[in-house]
Symmetry: C2
Subunit: 154 residues, 2 copies
DNA sequence: TGAAATTTGCGAAAAATCCGCAACAGACAA
DNA sequence: TTGTCTGTTGCGGATTTTTCGCAAATTTCA
């Protein structure tokens, strides 16, 4: 079965911070042989415990220097309207996350643009449509990594 | 110099989605030799264009199944108050991102907990203090990957 | 145009991953 | 307790990937 034991948890926690560690490094940290570690990591990938491994690109380099939170209010209508919008936004390069939420708003997007001017354009193109009742923009002044180093237990 | 050319951009875009590609795969995609690709990736790491490479762990496995957006209002005071709070929240395992924002709220957190009950506890412990004037919780019903496949140009 | 600096591809060396195999550990029935 | 079954380990070798030196090619800039 695909049960996760304490070795697996330790491996996941290590790779969550740095996915580029070798079998040897992992072995040192968890107390198994390199081969055993790699076999476990392989298995964690297969069962989906590790969804994927990605590189985090510096925002400056990516040319996305302005970050915004956008609260979207969707007019009442067919339930698939939100889903359609979600798919539409997922395809846009400026959109980094999409949340379907409770409360006054229906969708919350995090958006990254090269400039405020670029964001202004973005809103004009995408938010003035009859699919969107209203929206509110929150400007992110600074954003911080949550766990630069090993996190405490939940 | 640390200038980024179009090959580098292509590599960054590839690794942003999947950091586990080999030199051979990258070479195929960008049209350089494997060695040249790996040299460039190495350099992108050194100059910080690639900040780090991480594994994305399935939330179920991580045991964090409830996601929330929390808008925190901080009472007016010394400007370092927000910074102190920020550091405090960054250390908590449940907190995944921290934004310092404009608008009614001052800080926006994304929080992940094992259950609503766990979140209720979390709020009691961390949000009822004189450092926090008020807070509003938005429950995330669903969250979506923004760019499952290659993103369009910005 | 020509010299200097950078980057490329190639191939060998080093390192890491993968895979088969025998040994070991735990679960469970007799 | 004994024996079997299942799953995992460590080991070593085969395979793949990364790293590095070097000469050729390309770009830069005066």
């Amino acid at each position: 079965m695909d049960a996760i034991d304490s070795f697996d948890r330790k491996l996941l926690d290590l790779l969550r911070h740095d996915a580029r560690q070798t079998g040897r490094q992992l072995a040192e940290a968890v107390g198994l042989s390199p081969a055993a570690c790699l076999r476990r990591v392989q298995r964690l990938r297969e069962i989906g415990a590790i969804e994927r491994e990605v590189a985090i690109i510096s925002p400056q380099v990516a040319g996305q220097t302005v970050k915004l939170l956008v609260m979207l209010v969707i007019p009442p209508g067919k339930p698939d309207r939100i889903d359609r919008l979600r798919r539409k936004f997922a395809a846009l390069a400026q959109v980094t996350t999409i949340y379907h939420v409770t409360g006054k708003a229906d969708l919350v997007l995090t958006v990254e643009c090269a400039s405020m001017e670029a964001y202004a354009n973005f809103t004009e193109v995408h938010f003035y449509s009859e699919d969107i009742a209203s929206f509110e923009t929150i400007v992110v002044l600074r954003s911080y990594d949550a766990h630069p180093e090993p996190a405490p237990k939940a």
